[in-house]
Symmetry: C2
Subunit: 180 residues, 2 copies
Protein backbone atom coordinates (compact mmCIF):
# COMPACT_ATOMS: atom_id res chain seq x y z
CA UNK A 1 0.00 0.00 0.00
CA UNK A 2 1.42 3.37 -1.11
CA UNK A 3 -1.55 5.72 -1.32
CA UNK A 4 -4.70 6.44 0.69
CA UNK A 5 -7.69 4.81 -1.02
CA UNK A 6 -9.91 7.56 0.36
CA UNK A 7 -8.06 10.80 -0.52
CA UNK A 8 -5.16 9.67 -2.78
CA UNK A 9 -2.37 11.12 -0.57
CA UNK A 10 0.66 9.07 0.50
CA UNK A 11 0.49 6.73 3.50
CA UNK A 12 3.10 5.85 6.13
CA UNK A 13 3.51 2.76 8.28
CA UNK A 14 3.12 3.76 11.93
CA UNK A 15 1.48 2.70 15.17
CA UNK A 16 -1.70 4.77 15.65
CA UNK A 17 -2.64 6.13 19.09
CA UNK A 18 -4.31 3.50 21.32
CA UNK A 19 -3.06 0.74 19.01
CA UNK A 20 -0.18 -1.72 19.28
CA UNK A 21 0.39 -2.62 15.62
CA UNK A 22 1.91 -0.99 12.58
CA UNK A 23 -0.80 0.27 10.21
CA UNK A 24 -0.87 2.20 6.97
CA UNK A 25 -1.99 5.70 8.01
CA UNK A 26 -2.78 8.49 5.54
CA UNK A 27 -0.31 11.40 5.80
CA UNK A 28 -3.05 13.89 4.88
CA UNK A 29 -6.51 12.75 6.03
CA UNK A 30 -5.28 10.46 8.83
CA UNK A 31 -7.39 7.48 7.80
CA UNK A 32 -6.10 4.18 9.22
CA UNK A 33 -6.13 1.41 6.61
CA UNK A 34 -6.57 -1.90 8.44
CA UNK A 35 -5.65 -5.15 6.72
CA UNK A 36 -7.33 -8.37 7.86
CA UNK A 37 -7.23 -12.11 7.17
CA UNK A 38 -9.23 -13.53 4.29
CA UNK A 39 -11.55 -16.53 4.37
CA UNK A 40 -11.08 -19.31 1.81
CA UNK A 41 -14.31 -21.34 1.61
CA UNK A 42 -14.53 -24.76 -0.01
CA UNK A 43 -16.09 -28.20 -0.04
CA UNK A 44 -15.21 -31.81 0.51
CA UNK A 45 -17.99 -33.27 -1.64
CA UNK A 46 -18.68 -36.96 -1.41
CA UNK A 47 -20.39 -39.24 -3.93
CA UNK A 48 -20.76 -42.77 -2.61
CA UNK A 49 -17.26 -43.85 -1.59
CA UNK A 50 -15.52 -41.15 -3.62
CA UNK A 51 -14.52 -37.51 -3.15
CA UNK A 52 -14.28 -34.76 -5.77
CA UNK A 53 -10.97 -33.05 -6.53
CA UNK A 54 -10.06 -30.39 -9.12
CA UNK A 55 -6.72 -29.97 -10.88
CA UNK A 56 -5.74 -26.31 -10.79
CA UNK A 57 -5.57 -24.32 -14.04
CA UNK A 58 -4.26 -21.24 -12.22
CA UNK A 59 -1.33 -20.11 -10.08
CA UNK A 60 -0.31 -20.84 -7.42
CA UNK A 61 0.16 -24.62 -7.59
CA UNK A 62 -0.83 -24.92 -11.25
CA UNK A 63 -1.49 -28.54 -12.19
CA UNK A 64 -1.89 -29.80 -8.62
CA UNK A 65 -5.07 -31.25 -7.11
CA UNK A 66 -7.30 -29.36 -4.69
CA UNK A 67 -10.72 -29.26 -3.13
CA UNK A 68 -12.97 -26.69 -4.83
CA UNK A 69 -12.33 -23.53 -2.78
CA UNK A 70 -11.72 -19.82 -3.11
CA UNK A 71 -12.00 -16.43 -1.45
CA UNK A 72 -15.30 -15.66 0.24
CA UNK A 73 -16.99 -12.55 -1.20
CA UNK A 74 -18.70 -9.68 0.61
CA UNK A 75 -22.42 -10.30 1.13
CA UNK A 76 -22.12 -14.09 1.31
CA UNK A 77 -22.44 -16.62 4.12
CA UNK A 78 -19.61 -19.14 4.48
CA UNK A 79 -21.72 -22.00 3.09
CA UNK A 80 -22.91 -19.90 0.14
CA UNK A 81 -19.27 -19.09 -0.65
CA UNK A 82 -18.30 -22.78 -0.48
CA UNK A 83 -21.18 -23.83 -2.77
CA UNK A 84 -20.41 -21.03 -5.24
CA UNK A 85 -16.77 -22.09 -5.50
CA UNK A 86 -17.82 -25.71 -6.14
CA UNK A 87 -20.10 -24.49 -8.89
CA UNK A 88 -17.46 -22.22 -10.46
CA UNK A 89 -14.57 -24.69 -10.33
CA UNK A 90 -16.36 -28.00 -10.93
CA UNK A 91 -19.94 -27.21 -12.00
CA UNK A 92 -20.87 -29.34 -9.01
CA UNK A 93 -24.34 -29.43 -7.46
CA UNK A 94 -24.26 -30.11 -3.73
CA UNK A 95 -26.58 -30.82 -0.87
CA UNK A 96 -26.47 -31.09 2.90
CA UNK A 97 -23.44 -28.86 3.55
CA UNK A 98 -22.01 -29.25 7.06
CA UNK A 99 -19.10 -27.31 8.52
CA UNK A 100 -16.11 -29.66 8.70
CA UNK A 101 -12.65 -28.04 8.98
CA UNK A 102 -11.67 -24.52 10.08
CA UNK A 103 -7.93 -24.12 9.53
CA UNK A 104 -5.90 -20.96 10.21
CA UNK A 105 -2.89 -20.33 7.98
CA UNK A 106 -1.37 -17.34 9.78
CA UNK A 107 1.76 -16.89 7.64
CA UNK A 108 -0.48 -15.90 4.72
CA UNK A 109 -3.36 -14.57 6.89
CA UNK A 110 -5.95 -16.98 5.54
CA UNK A 111 -8.60 -19.04 7.31
CA UNK A 112 -9.83 -22.06 5.34
CA UNK A 113 -13.45 -23.03 6.04
CA UNK A 114 -14.33 -26.37 4.44
CA UNK A 115 -17.78 -27.96 4.31
CA UNK A 116 -18.46 -31.68 4.01
CA UNK A 117 -21.38 -32.33 1.65
CA UNK A 118 -23.03 -34.70 -0.78
CA UNK A 119 -22.30 -34.38 -4.50
CA UNK A 120 -25.76 -34.79 -6.00
CA UNK A 121 -24.86 -36.21 -9.43
CA UNK A 122 -22.04 -37.32 -11.74
CA UNK A 123 -22.85 -34.29 -13.86
CA UNK A 124 -19.78 -32.17 -13.00
CA UNK A 125 -17.06 -30.67 -15.20
CA UNK A 126 -14.08 -28.31 -15.01
CA UNK A 127 -14.76 -24.58 -14.73
CA UNK A 128 -12.28 -22.01 -16.11
CA UNK A 129 -9.99 -22.35 -13.08
CA UNK A 130 -9.74 -26.17 -13.35
CA UNK A 131 -7.90 -28.40 -15.86
CA UNK A 132 -9.73 -31.53 -14.74
CA UNK A 133 -12.35 -32.65 -12.20
CA UNK A 134 -12.46 -36.22 -10.96
CA UNK A 135 -13.83 -38.51 -8.27
CA UNK A 136 -11.24 -40.41 -6.19
CA UNK A 137 -11.44 -43.42 -3.95
CA UNK A 138 -9.26 -43.17 -0.83
CA UNK A 139 -6.52 -45.38 -2.33
CA UNK A 140 -6.43 -43.23 -5.49
CA UNK A 141 -5.85 -39.83 -3.79
CA UNK A 142 -2.76 -38.15 -5.35
CA UNK A 143 -1.17 -37.37 -1.95
CA UNK A 144 2.08 -36.16 -3.54
CA UNK A 145 0.29 -33.84 -5.95
CA UNK A 146 -2.04 -31.96 -3.59
CA UNK A 147 -1.96 -28.17 -3.86
CA UNK A 148 -2.29 -27.15 -0.20
CA UNK A 149 -1.65 -28.48 3.31
CA UNK A 150 -5.23 -27.60 4.25
CA UNK A 151 -6.52 -29.89 1.48
CA UNK A 152 -4.30 -32.75 2.68
CA UNK A 153 -5.38 -32.26 6.29
CA UNK A 154 -9.09 -32.11 5.44
CA UNK A 155 -8.81 -35.34 3.41
CA UNK A 156 -6.89 -37.04 6.23
CA UNK A 157 -9.56 -36.00 8.74
CA UNK A 158 -12.30 -37.29 6.46
CA UNK A 159 -10.85 -40.75 5.78
CA UNK A 160 -10.07 -41.13 9.50
CA UNK A 161 -13.52 -39.98 10.61
CA UNK A 162 -15.28 -42.12 8.03
CA UNK A 163 -13.80 -45.22 9.65
CA UNK A 164 -15.26 -44.08 12.99
CA UNK A 165 -18.58 -43.02 11.47
CA UNK A 166 -18.51 -39.59 13.16
CA UNK A 167 -17.50 -36.26 11.65
CA UNK A 168 -16.76 -33.64 14.31
CA UNK A 169 -15.73 -30.12 13.24
CA UNK A 170 -11.92 -29.87 13.24
CA UNK A 171 -10.32 -26.54 14.19
CA UNK A 172 -6.62 -26.49 13.34
CA UNK A 173 -3.76 -24.17 12.47
CA UNK A 174 -0.76 -24.51 10.20
CA UNK A 175 2.20 -22.64 11.54
CA UNK A 176 5.53 -22.65 9.77
CA UNK A 177 8.86 -21.41 11.01
CA UNK A 178 9.58 -18.20 9.12
CA UNK A 179 13.23 -17.32 8.35
CA UNK A 180 14.69 -15.05 11.03
CA UNK B 1 -12.66 3.62 -2.30
CA UNK B 2 -11.69 6.52 -4.56
CA UNK B 3 -7.99 6.04 -5.34
CA UNK B 4 -5.67 3.11 -6.17
CA UNK B 5 -3.68 2.18 -3.07
CA UNK B 6 -0.84 1.04 -5.33
CA UNK B 7 -0.34 3.96 -7.76
CA UNK B 8 -2.61 6.73 -6.41
CA UNK B 9 -4.69 7.14 -9.61
CA UNK B 10 -8.49 7.14 -9.58
CA UNK B 11 -10.47 3.89 -9.55
CA UNK B 12 -13.77 2.95 -11.20
CA UNK B 13 -16.37 0.34 -10.27
CA UNK B 14 -16.57 -2.19 -13.09
CA UNK B 15 -16.76 -5.92 -13.75
CA UNK B 16 -13.26 -7.16 -14.68
CA UNK B 17 -12.77 -9.70 -17.48
CA UNK B 18 -13.49 -13.29 -16.37
CA UNK B 19 -15.29 -11.97 -13.28
CA UNK B 20 -18.97 -11.60 -12.41
CA UNK B 21 -18.85 -8.93 -9.73
CA UNK B 22 -18.31 -5.19 -9.58
CA UNK B 23 -14.80 -4.37 -8.33
CA UNK B 24 -12.79 -1.21 -7.83
CA UNK B 25 -10.33 -1.22 -10.75
CA UNK B 26 -7.50 1.31 -11.15
CA UNK B 27 -8.02 3.56 -14.19
CA UNK B 28 -4.24 3.77 -14.73
CA UNK B 29 -2.42 0.61 -13.57
CA UNK B 30 -5.41 -1.72 -13.87
CA UNK B 31 -5.04 -3.24 -10.41
CA UNK B 32 -8.22 -4.90 -9.15
CA UNK B 33 -8.95 -4.05 -5.50
CA UNK B 34 -10.87 -6.94 -3.99
CA UNK B 35 -12.84 -6.44 -0.79
CA UNK B 36 -13.54 -9.45 1.41
CA UNK B 37 -15.41 -10.35 4.61
CA UNK B 38 -13.75 -9.81 7.99
CA UNK B 39 -13.53 -12.28 10.84
CA UNK B 40 -14.65 -11.21 14.31
CA UNK B 41 -13.09 -13.58 16.88
CA UNK B 42 -14.28 -13.83 20.47
CA UNK B 43 -14.84 -15.98 23.52
CA UNK B 44 -17.63 -17.34 25.66
CA UNK B 45 -15.57 -17.77 28.82
CA UNK B 46 -17.05 -19.77 31.65
CA UNK B 47 -16.19 -19.68 35.36
CA UNK B 48 -18.13 -22.25 37.33
CA UNK B 49 -21.79 -21.59 36.52
CA UNK B 50 -21.17 -18.08 35.21
CA UNK B 51 -20.15 -16.47 31.91
CA UNK B 52 -18.13 -13.30 31.34
CA UNK B 53 -19.64 -10.29 29.55
CA UNK B 54 -18.22 -6.82 28.84
CA UNK B 55 -20.15 -3.56 28.62
CA UNK B 56 -19.00 -1.66 25.54
CA UNK B 57 -17.15 1.64 25.95
CA UNK B 58 -17.08 2.19 22.17
CA UNK B 59 -19.43 2.58 19.20
CA UNK B 60 -21.40 0.84 17.88
CA UNK B 61 -23.71 -0.25 20.68
CA UNK B 62 -22.04 1.85 23.38
CA UNK B 63 -23.17 0.76 26.84
CA UNK B 64 -24.56 -2.62 25.77
CA UNK B 65 -23.22 -6.01 26.86
CA UNK B 66 -21.15 -8.26 24.65
CA UNK B 67 -18.80 -11.22 24.65
CA UNK B 68 -15.15 -10.13 24.36
CA UNK B 69 -14.59 -10.09 20.58
CA UNK B 70 -13.00 -8.07 17.81
CA UNK B 71 -11.45 -8.12 14.37
CA UNK B 72 -8.89 -10.85 13.74
CA UNK B 73 -5.48 -9.45 12.73
CA UNK B 74 -3.11 -10.58 9.98
CA UNK B 75 -0.64 -13.20 11.20
CA UNK B 76 -2.94 -14.66 13.87
CA UNK B 77 -4.83 -17.92 14.19
CA UNK B 78 -8.52 -17.68 15.06
CA UNK B 79 -7.97 -18.89 18.64
CA UNK B 80 -5.05 -16.48 19.15
CA UNK B 81 -7.30 -13.63 17.97
CA UNK B 82 -10.07 -14.69 20.37
CA UNK B 83 -7.69 -14.92 23.33
CA UNK B 84 -6.10 -11.54 22.47
CA UNK B 85 -9.49 -9.84 22.40
CA UNK B 86 -10.39 -11.35 25.79
CA UNK B 87 -7.15 -10.01 27.18
CA UNK B 88 -7.60 -6.54 25.64
CA UNK B 89 -11.25 -6.07 26.58
CA UNK B 90 -11.41 -7.87 29.92
CA UNK B 91 -7.82 -8.66 31.01
CA UNK B 92 -9.08 -12.24 31.10
CA UNK B 93 -6.81 -15.29 31.24
CA UNK B 94 -8.31 -18.31 29.51
CA UNK B 95 -7.66 -21.97 28.99
CA UNK B 96 -8.96 -24.84 26.92
CA UNK B 97 -10.39 -22.84 23.99
CA UNK B 98 -12.73 -24.87 21.79
CA UNK B 99 -14.43 -23.64 18.63
CA UNK B 100 -18.12 -23.11 19.43
CA UNK B 101 -20.09 -20.85 17.06
CA UNK B 102 -19.31 -19.77 13.47
CA UNK B 103 -21.93 -17.21 12.44
CA UNK B 104 -22.05 -15.40 9.08
CA UNK B 105 -23.49 -11.88 9.08
CA UNK B 106 -23.62 -11.26 5.32
CA UNK B 107 -25.26 -7.81 5.34
CA UNK B 108 -22.12 -6.43 7.00
CA UNK B 109 -19.73 -9.05 5.53
CA UNK B 110 -18.57 -10.36 8.88
CA UNK B 111 -18.05 -13.91 10.13
CA UNK B 112 -18.12 -14.27 13.92
CA UNK B 113 -15.95 -17.10 15.27
CA UNK B 114 -16.56 -17.67 18.98
CA UNK B 115 -14.62 -20.04 21.25
CA UNK B 116 -15.97 -21.63 24.42
CA UNK B 117 -13.31 -21.69 27.14
CA UNK B 118 -12.56 -21.67 30.82
CA UNK B 119 -11.91 -18.35 32.60
CA UNK B 120 -8.93 -19.24 34.79
CA UNK B 121 -9.44 -16.74 37.66
CA UNK B 122 -11.59 -13.95 39.04
CA UNK B 123 -8.75 -11.59 38.26
CA UNK B 124 -10.29 -9.77 35.28
CA UNK B 125 -11.04 -6.07 34.69
CA UNK B 126 -12.22 -3.72 31.95
CA UNK B 127 -9.77 -2.82 29.16
CA UNK B 128 -10.00 0.54 27.37
CA UNK B 129 -12.87 -0.64 25.15
CA UNK B 130 -15.03 -1.80 28.11
CA UNK B 131 -16.95 0.16 30.74
CA UNK B 132 -17.47 -2.87 32.95
CA UNK B 133 -16.72 -6.60 33.03
CA UNK B 134 -18.89 -8.99 35.02
CA UNK B 135 -19.77 -12.65 35.51
CA UNK B 136 -23.43 -13.57 34.98
CA UNK B 137 -25.52 -16.56 35.96
CA UNK B 138 -28.02 -17.63 33.28
CA UNK B 139 -30.95 -15.93 35.05
CA UNK B 140 -28.98 -12.67 35.29
CA UNK B 141 -28.11 -12.29 31.56
CA UNK B 142 -29.24 -8.81 30.35
CA UNK B 143 -31.05 -10.21 27.28
CA UNK B 144 -32.56 -6.82 26.40
CA UNK B 145 -29.21 -5.05 26.60
CA UNK B 146 -27.02 -7.32 24.44
CA UNK B 147 -24.99 -5.58 21.74
CA UNK B 148 -25.24 -8.11 18.89
CA UNK B 149 -27.46 -10.92 17.61
CA UNK B 150 -24.41 -13.18 17.42
CA UNK B 151 -23.80 -12.69 21.15
CA UNK B 152 -27.43 -13.53 21.95
CA UNK B 153 -27.36 -16.63 19.74
CA UNK B 154 -24.07 -17.90 21.20
CA UNK B 155 -25.43 -17.50 24.74
CA UNK B 156 -28.68 -19.27 23.79
CA UNK B 157 -26.71 -22.16 22.28
CA UNK B 158 -24.56 -22.41 25.39
CA UNK B 159 -27.36 -22.50 27.97
CA UNK B 160 -29.25 -25.02 25.82
CA UNK B 161 -26.20 -27.23 25.28
CA UNK B 162 -25.20 -27.09 28.93
CA UNK B 163 -28.49 -28.73 29.88
CA UNK B 164 -27.67 -31.57 27.42
CA UNK B 165 -24.04 -31.76 28.49
CA UNK B 166 -22.76 -31.66 24.89
CA UNK B 167 -21.35 -28.66 23.01
CA UNK B 168 -21.32 -29.25 19.26
CA UNK B 169 -19.96 -26.52 16.95
CA UNK B 170 -22.87 -24.38 15.69
CA UNK B 171 -22.65 -22.93 12.16
CA UNK B 172 -25.31 -20.31 11.55
CA UNK B 173 -26.11 -17.24 9.50
CA UNK B 174 -28.04 -14.07 10.25
CA UNK B 175 -29.79 -12.75 7.23
CA UNK B 176 -31.94 -9.64 7.37
CA UNK B 177 -34.28 -8.28 4.75
CA UNK B 178 -32.61 -5.20 3.32
CA UNK B 179 -34.81 -2.32 2.13
CA UNK B 180 -35.53 -2.57 -1.61
ZN1 LIG C 1 -6.21 9.98 3.05
ZN1 LIG D 1 -3.27 1.93 -9.82
Amino acid sequence: MNYCSDCGATVSLKIPENDERMRFVCDTCGMIHYQNPKIVAGVLSVRGEQVLLCRRAIAPRYGLWTLPAGFMENGETTDQAAAREAHEEANATLRDLRLYTVISVPHVSHVHVIYRCELVSDDFAPGVESLETRLFHEHEIPWDELAFHTVRKTLECFFHDRKQGVFPVHNLAFTIALPT
